[in-house]
């Protein structure tokens, strides 16, 4: 459905050239959820915004984003507007700020319907009421004439999802859709996204920093670090057999919900900090924080396929593989 090939995003800033995304390749299939995980500043959101070309003009994009036989990066503004919000829609992180406070919910949901489907205001409002029902808003007609401040965070997030789905898009990009919400509301929204994906055959790109959310609602996962994908595979493979030292560290950093163990005890964690992307380190970007560093890591790491469809960007896995190949030859 969506095929991102070697996408790179550079920002021209007063301090210099910042490589926010350095060659990301992803693909998204119909009816599946791809989880994009990583810590803040790793380029998750920039990748999402690049897909819809919503980045400021200081950004320099390269690579290819193929959708419906077209390269989104080469599309004219006019053609792009027909894709944005219509065939690829986005749900933003902050339900408090993503809605316009001076317009009613109805105006905002109806807007994309008027724009993309050419409906009259009255028709668009009727459609908008219909769009609010599947996302679980109890009284759609009353909510339509309300303003965002009259709704709770959970309801606002539902309105944003309804807005995104109003034009029946093929792809939904959800950028941290539950980060601002409480756990009980978060679980409602995640269940809703899973249900809508099934019912409408959507492809979902779910961006989050929460490994629990990915484990529970994504079919495939891509782990991002310092602007690069480090590891990608099916959710089960990646969580049961994490191969990249960063993925392993990330999984070990998450405190487990466990009341049987005595309290205290140290979490594994990852030492150090994310590298400065103005002067990225030579070779592997994770090298300085990695406990398995080898001299070979000074060179850019290769992609290694450890299992079918489970790929890792790491010298360590390459070394392992070479070793295994050699030893099998001796046998």
């Amino acid at each position: 459905m969506l095929d991102i090939h070697n996408l790179a995003v550079r920002f021209h800033t007063p301090t210099g050239l910042l490589q926010a995304v350095g060659g990301v390749s992803l693909n998204l299939k119909r009816g599946e959820t791809l989880g994009l995980v990583g810590e803040s500043g790793c380029g998750k959101t920039v990748t999402a915004l690049a897909i819809l070309r919503l980045l400021p003009c200081t950004a320099e994009l390269s690579g290819e984003i193929r959708f419906a036989d077209e390269n989104l990066l080469r599309l004219s503004e006019e053609r792009l507007r027909q894709v944005r919000g219509n065939r690829i829609a986005m749900v933003f992180q902050e339900p408090m700020t993503a809605l316009n406070p001076v317009l009613t919910i109805g105006d905002q949901v109806a807007e994309s319907l008027k724009l993309h489907r050419g409906l009259s205001t009255r028709q668009a409002w009727r459609e908008a009421a219909r769009a609010l029902t599947p996302v679980g808003l109890p009284e759609p007609n009353r909510h339509l004439s309300q303003y965002p401040h009259q709704l709770s965070g959970g309801l606002r997030q539902r309105v944003l999802i309804a807005m995104a789905l109003a034009c029946a898009p093929d792809i939904l990009i959800a950028d941290e859709p539950t980060t601002a919400l409480d756990v009980t509301i978060q679980s409602q929204i995640l269940a809703l996204l899973t249900k809508l994906k099934k019912d409408l055959g959507l492809a979902v790109l779910l961006i989050t920093h929460n490994l629990g959310i990915v484990a529970q609602s994504a079919d495939r996962v891509a782990v991002m670090y310092a602007g690069l994908i480090m590891e990608t595979g099916s959710t089960i493979d990646l969580f049961q057999n994490p191969c990249h030292p960063y993925t392993q560290g990330l999984l070990a950093s998450v405190p487990k919900l466990d009341f049987d163990q005595p309290p205290g005890g140290t979490l594994a964690g990852i030492p150090g900090q994310v590298p400065n992307l103005y002067q990225p380190p030579r070779g592997c970007f994770f090298r300085e924080r990695c406990s398995h560093e080898t001299p070979r890591c000074q060179e850019p790491p290769p992609w290694v396929e450890v299992e079918p469809n489970h790929r890792v960007l790491c010298w360590l896995c390459k070394n392992d593989q070479e070793f295994r190949n050699k030893s099998s030859r001796f046998k």
Binding site: E39, S40, P138, S152, G153, G154, L155, D182, V183, T184, I185, Q186, S187, Q188, L190, A191, H209, N210, L211, G212, I213, V214, A215, Q216, S217, T235, I236, F239, Q240, G249, L250, L251, A252, S253, V254, P255, K256, L257, D258, F259, D260, P263, G264, G265, T266, L267, A268, G269, I270, P271, Q273
Partner: protein, 320 residues
Amino acid sequence: MTEILLATYNLCRYFRVAGPWRKGPVLKAVDGVNLTIRAGETLGLVGESGCGKSTLGLLLLALLAPSKGEVRFAGENLHRLPANRLKELRRRMQIIFQDPYSSLNPRMTVRRLLEEPYVIHRLGDKNERRAWVTEILAEVGLGPEHLDRYPHEFSGGQRQRLGIARALALKPELIVADEPVSALDVSIQAQILNLLIQLQNRYQLTYLFISHDLSVVSRLSNRIAVMYLGRIVELGPRAVFAQSGLHPYTTALLSAVPLPDPTRPFQPPHLQGDPPSPIHLPSGCPFHPRCPEARHLQCREEVPQLRGTTTDHWVACHLR
């Protein structure tokens, strides 16, 4: 671990919300909390946003005056003390704030930030203070080269280390940690949690650990209190939370946590709607409109009180 360091009795804090022309309705942020914190333990306080966790934390440190009830720290009623005695007690209790970006004065260098507690409490002379500041900085994993920098030059995790250093400066007994890791990334979060555990072991600190994240709380706490709309609905030692027979709200909170394990099925709770507004509290049990088990008339009419079920385990529910 039997000595009680801090205890609250029917602690309440009400805020009057401003209305357009006259005084508006009353918001019960903290409503009748009875809680004890034992020396050397970590008491975890969990609840969703707006349930009054932070207000309770501020009340315990006398940074906010209660509307009713009292807080006793080492046997003394904090809100009845003369100012000079309260200041003495303040040396023994400190707070770590959630947001390491806004809780450090951007115009002060690290040296001045960390010296300030000693200046306020008139401890040591110039040279002693300098030595102490370097020492405390090393304690949280930062070097003397950081002394003359400003907060904006640090990353989020390092700033939280500074916040911890400042809380630690006076060698307190009690530290209220109000969501100390929720603004941090997981890998940094783990570093800070490790630091907090290390410091507790070294200085026999007592923590009130406030968080909305049950996994983090389960990592650190000896006992856990669950708060909902200004009340404690459940309080017990950690082992209790692995068993059944918990308050329905606690059960819902536990099952709402998405676990980082795709093989375990995710069964989110069937909670209806959002938490009600703390201004218009529902009658009876504040949780009954969302509770999957509330069928009894009693739930709608009578506010459940915290009752002991087994030793040390307290639940506020008519059905338990």
